[in-house]
């Protein structure tokens, strides 16, 4: 009670200060805030001038400027950007092959076989050892052997570009276009961040001041392919698109197809941003100035450390954490019968007509439902379900076994046996770009917007676009092919 009285009296005391302030503000008549800031800037500039010495000629950052003239050039900027992207993907595709094979040999051929035989000799019931080792363990092992190598190459390269200072140049090149579509220039930065992780990029949209522009950045962030989706893109393009070209061109062709898909993502960022800023989120773009930082020689060790610990292992850990329960779920739905079919078959049969209509199939749709928590496990789920429903013999060791393919050729064999065509592959790459964000991202969007409405828009809009695009591609494809 006493405390309340206290604050009450403070409040009264303030009244007269505030009214005095109002009078003074009225009297001075000028723009108070601007005057204060002006004198502060003047002060800062005076101090700066008195303590700084320029030795020799003012060659400050002349090298940086020269490089920037090329990298942010009106005509050269974009081609250079594309070449860099191409280079990164190409190195990833070419480099990931061997370590991937090695890991799968260790984790699956050696360890899995050992676990199974050990389980048999100790006398663990087949039902339990199947659930544990064929479901849970193999799902995890698959994720590690297929995802670790490309990530261990892709992330250091990406971190290298980041530490060099190249990302702000990308933002600089795109800034103008973002403003043209009524969005904030800083969206270029949150978009690039999305190439790492959409969930983190949604948080980074805080750097955008205006709520309208922040919403646009959040909603369109999912069009940036994230960690969880790069492996899908790279793998599918290697198997199907690269295979169309002669061997010596294969890796370049698959790298370009991934670049095309990510560019399509950028295209949708602009189209959707434009649409939103003209309809639901009307308004003028606000001004901002983007600072181009100097180029810094990246420290090799710290690049390796951050890309490996902060990115590769983090993503891998997430994938494994989600892969274990998913592996268990997959094993269960493919071993529990309802009527004459297992649950998984009921599901894929149910989704098949719709899946085929949009150029995919029931298995892919089921995989995307299972993989809502993490995009990383889409492909493992797809492979497992194919083996199961096509009743292939000689591959895999029993129903519900998530196994590994020794190389891309046998993956292709498997997929073709599952009725996959080039259209399925193309549409899977498109659908991987254009579908709902993972559950972590959705959760973050809700945390940031505090609005069920905008969270639903951000979740369902990409999915809707994905279905339309896949349908159109399938429709046109079937007309001509």
């Amino acid at each position: 009670m006493k405390h309340e009285e206290n604050t009450e009296s403070k409040k009264n005391n303030l009244e007269d200060i505030i009214s005095e302030a109002n009078v003074l503000r009225w009297k001075s008549g000028s723009n108070f805030h601007d005057d204060i800031m002006d004198s502060l800037y003047k002060d800062a500039s005076d101090i700066a001038k008195s303590v700084i010495n320029y030795t020799g000629e003012k060659k400050a950052f002349s090298f940086d400027k020269k490089v920037d003239r090329i990298l942010t050039n009106k005509f050269l900027g974009f081609p250079v950007m594309l070449l860099m992207l191409m280079g990164v993907f190409w190195l990833t595709i070419v480099g990931a092959n061997y370590p991937s094979r090695f890991l799968s040999y260790i984790l699956i051929d050696v360890i899995h076989t050992f676990l199974k035989s050990a389980a048999d000799s100790v006398g663990i019931p087949v039902l339990i050892s199947g659930f544990l080792f064929d479901g849970v363990y193999l799902a995890g092992a698959w994720v590690v052997s297929v995802m670790l190598p490309p990530m261990a190459i892709f992330f250091p390269l990406f971190t290298l570009l980041e530490d060099l200072g190249y990302l702000p140049r990308v933002a600089f090149n795109l800034d103008n276009y973002f403003r043209k579509v009524g969005a904030h220039g800083k969206q270029a930065l949150t978009m690039t961040m999305g190439y790492g992780c959409n969930a983190a990029a949604v948080l980074s949209a805080r750097i955008i001041d205006s709520p309208r522009e922040r919403l646009i950045a959040i909603i369109t962030n999912n069009f940036s392919l994230c960690n969880g989706r790069w492996p899908t893109q790279i793998l599918i393009s290697t198997i199907f698109i690269g295979a169309l070209a002669p061997t010596y061109l294969a890796s370049i062709v698959s790298a370009s197809s991934v670049v095309i898909v990510s560019l399509l993502g950028v295209f949708f960022v602009f189209v959707v941003s434009y649409g939103l800023s003209k309809t639901l989120l009307k308004g003028e773009p606000s001004f901002f100035s983007l600072e181009l930082p100097p180029y810094r020689t990246p420290k090799l060790l710290s690049v390796l450390y951050t890309s490996f610990i902060d990115r590769t292992l983090l993503v891998l850990w997430r994938a494994i954490v989600f892969a274990f329960p998913a592996g268990a779920v997959i094993w269960l739905i493919s071993n529990i019968y309802i009527g004459d079919k297992v649950i998984a078959e009921h599901m894929t049969d149910f989704f098949d007509p719709f899946g085929l209509l949009i150029g995919l199939n029931g298995i892919i749709i089921v995989a995307y439902i299972v993989a809502v928590p993490a995009n990383e496990i889409v492909l493992p789920t797809v492979f497992m379900l194919i083996v199961l429903t096509s009743k292939m013999t000689g591959i895999g060791e029993g129903s519900g076994v998530l196994f590994d393919m020794e190389n891309t050729a046998s993956i292709e064999e498997l997929l073709r046996a599952g009725g996959w065509t080039l259209l399925t592959a193309v549409n899977l790459m498109l659908f991987s770009l254009l579908h709902n964000p993972c559950s972590t991202t959705v959760f973050n969007i809700y945390k940031e917007t505090k609005s069920i409405k905008w969270t639903s828009v951000a979740t369902l809009l990409p999915l809707f676009i994905g279905i339309i695009v896949c349908f159109l591609v399938a429709f046109i494809w079937r007309l001509f092919v």
Partner: protein, 252 residues
Amino acid sequence: MSTNKCDICPVKNNSNLTKMGLNIGKFDYLVALAGNPNVGKSTVFNALTGLRQHTGNWTGKTVTKAEGAFYYNEKKFKVVDLPGTYSLLSTSKDEEVARDFILFARPDVTVIVIDAAKMERNLNLVLQVLEITEKAVLCVNLIDEAERNGITVNDKLLSEKLGIPVVLTSARKGIGISEIIKFIYEVASGIFVCKPHRDRKEPDEIKEAIDKISSMLKLKFPDLPNIRWVAMRILEGDHKIIEALERNELTA
């Protein structure tokens, strides 16, 4: 000419320093890290705490606060890395986070990190921080980069003008980190008494208005550490600050 006289001074040998990483718990002093975006703030943070927060060469890398700790001279320092901002005007969320922390959490020392090559623009933020808090240490970072480009900084004169300790650093190479730690300790424990530069040449009318409100505030809140700054916010009609005053949140 080399300005790193500090490199040969005895504190360089800081065997009494223990980096504590995330092991925070109870602490003796609270240290805030403020600065413009992309000046190597996170690198300084990592150098102080031994943590490996990811540092990226671009604006907006850190939008939330990161925390860590270190031990020096048997005192424990908790370090909070604030989002990088160009000002403390609280026009965006990250600026508000930074301002509110300095204002309400009242750190024992605020380390301001600036880019030696962008002194003029960066000093704007320094002056704004000094309006709010008295206890600060200025870290003029990326000094190697600036020197490579023919820019040298007179740290003694800058320290004199600002009334706070100034250290020239290259956090990436670990240069000057031990001096920052020494000054953090000295400012926190009161060995070094800051006399922050707060005089400005505002237009007379404005100055009178600020003085008037300041003297009224001084009567009611004798303990207020940043009277002039609060007076300016009241004159601007900043509701958040007025409410905070009403709730008695601005005094220690």
